[in-house]
Symmetry: C2
Subunit: 128 residues, 2 copies
């Protein structure tokens, strides 16, 4: 199993990270995600990291990279399910994930993406 | 990371299996899923196995067990993303997953669950 599955949920793509990421897996995920964004015209990417108890600078950078790449392809990225300890570590590592929006769970993340793209152009507003 | 995350998607729960299952992980997943079904009053469970290139009798039985347990809690189970080789192996192992419905991807699986529970009582009908 050397791929992380990407699930299509309407106009969004959902990725659940549950395994330890190593270089090759991260690169494969990036490639697969960008290909899928193009092929499915996805408008958003949800990355659920609720299974991660801890995070290192490698994963932090990977998430930031994916968000930046997706943005170039006109898709927004929302990271969901971050555990408190992970949030603490990310900030301590100096990785505050600029440009990445977060939500407590996938449902809220999806609401955020749907809302962010509504016709009134409310993109980028914070979820309430 | 000794837990498989369970994502709530509206009235359904979504589980993506990407790691090799061993006994303890399977038991934890069963426990977590049943607790979540009760806590969230979930009406359906989607198990995505698109990351599995191969399957053994252990995983086959685990899926069958989860479906049977969920049914007792009044939730239906749909297995999605099964690869052709996995379907072949399951049947060869004599595990045709009775009582488990399948769909090609999560979107269709969700449609199947929604349709199966509609007010006209069309539960159990095959997806078209």
């Amino acid at each position: 199993m050397e791929r992380i599955p990407i699930l299509r949920m309407g106009p969004f793509l959902l990725v659940t990270i549950q395994v330890d990421m190593h270089d090759r897996l991260a690169l494969t995920l990036q490639d697969d995600l960008m290909t899928q964004i193009r092929d499915t015209s996805a408008r958003g990417v949800l990355i659920d990291i609720s299974a991660l108890d801890m995070v290192d600078s490698f994963i932090g950078r990977m998430i930031g990279n994916i968000a930046a790449m997706a943005r170039v392809l006109d898709a927004e990225t929302v990271v969901t399910g971050m555990q408190p300890a992970v949030a603490i570590t990310l900030v301590e590592l100096g990785l505050s994930l600029p440009g990445v929006r977060t939500a407590l769970d996938v449902e809220r993340g999806m609401a955020l993406l749907t809302q962010g793209r509504d016709p009134q152009g409310q993109r980028g507003r914070r979820a309430r």
